[in-house]
């Protein structure tokens, strides 16, 4: 494939004490692609994406984004490069409403005297946040209530609305459906498609191959800290690719 990758990691190594968790892993993500990262428990999937999100520093290897070499010292560095990670616990403020959550740390300050006093513009924040979540595949009944009342899927929606609003290029989701029921899982798969329709690239870690086949265009399979291979997926009924993945996982 000669396509220029949006994100490229080469020869990533990471060890925790004596344990070699990543043994020189290569990884690539293309523009506007939904990529599934698969592998057994302990294969090193979470560790690999944590390297990409700036959470861990690799012991060896290179990362490039948009053809530019990058070093992520902190998650903030990765975010500035356009890579947002949706954490498993979603990092939401349960005591606050959608607008406050979406704008946390990036509040819109009002004009005139409000600017002088550092007062936020509640109206604009509420309206733009409503706009952002209404683009998503999940219905949020109202945005001025605390998100503690939201379902798992609705919480994902709020977390993802953030990445769309802040113009991220890549969204990483580590097991977004792990704690969800069948209906909510379907909605999260819809959310992933929504992200793609907004020209984002998505890296998603999932254990369920059926779900992967439904939503991803390509899968990378890992095994004990190495990359087993990659498979292009042609939709939910692509038996051939399905079997290839299963084989790699064995």
């Amino acid at each position: 494939m000669s396509r220029q990758a949006l994100v490229e990691m080469t020869g990533i190594e990471k060890r925790f004490g004596p344990v070699e968790v990543l043994k020189g892993v290569d990884f690539e993500l293309y523009e506007n692609e939904v990529l599934a990262l698969l592998g057994d428990n302990g294969a090193g999937k979470s560790t690999l994406i944590k390297v990409l999100s700036g959470y861990y520093q690799p012991d060896a290897g290179e990362i490039s984004v948009g053809g530019e070499d990058r070093k992520f010292g902190t998650p903030q560095d990765a975010r500035e490069a356009g890579i947002e990670t949706i954490y498993q616990d979603l990092a939401l403020f349960d005591n606050l409403d959608v607008a406050a959550n979406v704008y946390a740390g990036k509040e819109i300050v009002g004009g005139g005297w409000r600017k002088l006093l550092g007062f936020v513009d509640h109206k604009t924040m509420r309206e733009t946040a409503a706009d952002a979540v209404s683009k998503m595949a999940i219905n949020i009944p109202r945005i001025d209530v605390e998100v503690s009342a939201f379902s798992g899927g609705q919480r994902q929606c709020v977390a993802l609305a953030k990445s769309i609003m802040w113009g991220r290029k890549v969204v990483i989701m580590d097991e977004p459906t792990a704690a969800l029921g069948v209906r909510e899982t379907g909605k999260v798969l819809d959310l992933i498609r929504t992200l793609k329709s907004h020209n984002l690239s998505v890296i998603v870690i999932m254990h369920n191959i059926e779900h992967v086949m439904e939503v991803a265009e390509r899968a990378i399979v890992m095994r004990s800290g190495t990359r087993r291979g990659t498979v292009d997926l042609k939709g939910p009924d692509d038996r051939e690719s399905h079997d290839k993945i299963v084989q790699m996982l064995m």
Binding site: Y87, A100, L117, R142, S148
Partner: protein, 331 residues
């Protein structure tokens, strides 16, 4: 796309006034309770609605209300400060010591406030940077600061307070209202508006909601925590200054037990001891409500020993009503 398309006309916009939501806020409930209590008290006691009595209640609760502001801020941020009452007494004794030594009014004010900054920094550093538990840390500093008060004062009341200083609390510079009442109302309003609207003050509710999420939102949570405790102690120190100015003397047992009274009041006013919830206005209304309850007991010559029973019952009723209102909501 299989996205479910649902009509969302009301999203983000507020359709009319939602009375049910407004009426069920804790602030509104306490406010209505205050009105009802006021009406009942007026009918029970002819003395209740007299200027003298109202003035008594309002002046009497001012100090607790100023303390409540800072404590609420700390509670919203997910912490707690049991040392506030000791800080009130400490600042009071520091002010009195400055006057004893012949210091001026501005110097006394400065010293009083500085005592708040310093002890707040001690609480804040231990909690935010050494990662000690706030409840236990401030339990410790509560006893330490109270001892310091006795050590500094030798256990005696100090009364060499100049008249110009007393004027700060008792003067009636605005609309004939006692200064301490004006100051208290001003502080309540300013802090309420700041916590609701100011970018920096809003961070306290982020911190109280989820410390991890706050870190990920780029907030320097340690520094914020520390500053929360400093603000809390400075407000307690201001309350101490008010006490000395009002009474014209500083007693070593000033504000003894006040921390629990204030915590009770702010929880009645809607704060959560688990952090993230509460407003300054709510806390102030909680203080006012408990002050009125105590006042009506006094007016009806109920023994003061019953005041604790009353506050305790109000507190339990408050959290009970919470449980009932929140039943059916997800937790």
């Amino acid at each position: 796309m299989t996205a479910t398309q649902v009509e969302r006309p009301s999203l983000g916009r507020r359709e009319g006034i939602e009375w049910k939501r407004i009426l069920l806020t804790r602030e509104m409930i306490v406010f209505v309770m205050i009105l009802l209590l006021g009406i009942a008290s007026t009918m029970i006691s002819p003395y209740f609605l007299t200027a003298a009595n109202i003035k008594n209640v309002v002046i009497g609760m001012s100090v607790e209300m100023v303390v409540a502001i800072g404590l609420t801020l700390v509670l919203i941020s997910g912490g707690i400060d049991l040392s506030v009452a000791s800080v009130v007494a400490l600042s009071a004794v520091v002010v009195a010591l400055v006057f004893d030594a012949g210091g001026s009014v501005p110097l006394a004010l400065f010293a009083g406030i500085m005592s708040g900054v310093i002890v707040g920094a001690v609480n804040g550093a231990l909690i935010a940077y050494v990662n000690l538990n706030p409840l236990i840390t401030t339990l410790g500093t509560m006893t330490i600061f109270r001892s310091a008060v006795y050590i500094l004062s030798g256990g005696y009341a100090m009364s060499s307070i100049p008249a110009s200083f007393k004027e700060i609390a008792n003067g009636t510079w605005v609309l004939g209202l006692p200064n301490l009442v004006v100051l208290t109302v001003l502080l309540v309003l300013v802090f309420h508006v700041l916590v609701a609207n100011n970018v920096w003050f809003r961070k306290f509710s982020f911190l109280g909601g989820s410390e991890m999420a706050a870190v990920r939102a780029g907030i320097n949570t340690r520094r914020l925590k520390m500053l929360g405790y400093i603000i809390c102690s400075v407000l307690a120190a201001v309350a101490g200054i008010i006490v000395v100015a009002r009474l014209g003397s500083s007693f070593p047992n000033t504000a003894q037990g006040m921390e629990l009274r204030v915590i009770t009041a702010v929880i009645v006013g809607g704060c959560s001891i688990y952090g993230g919830k509460g407003t300054i206005i709510g806390a102030a209304l909680g203080v006012l409500f408990l002050a009125l309850v105590n006042n009506i007991l006094v007016l009806n010559s109920v023994s003061v020993y019953w005041q604790g029973v009353a506050s305790g019952c109000v507190l339990i009723l408050a959290i009970l009503s919470d449980a009932i209102i929140n039943r059916g909501k997800r937790s």
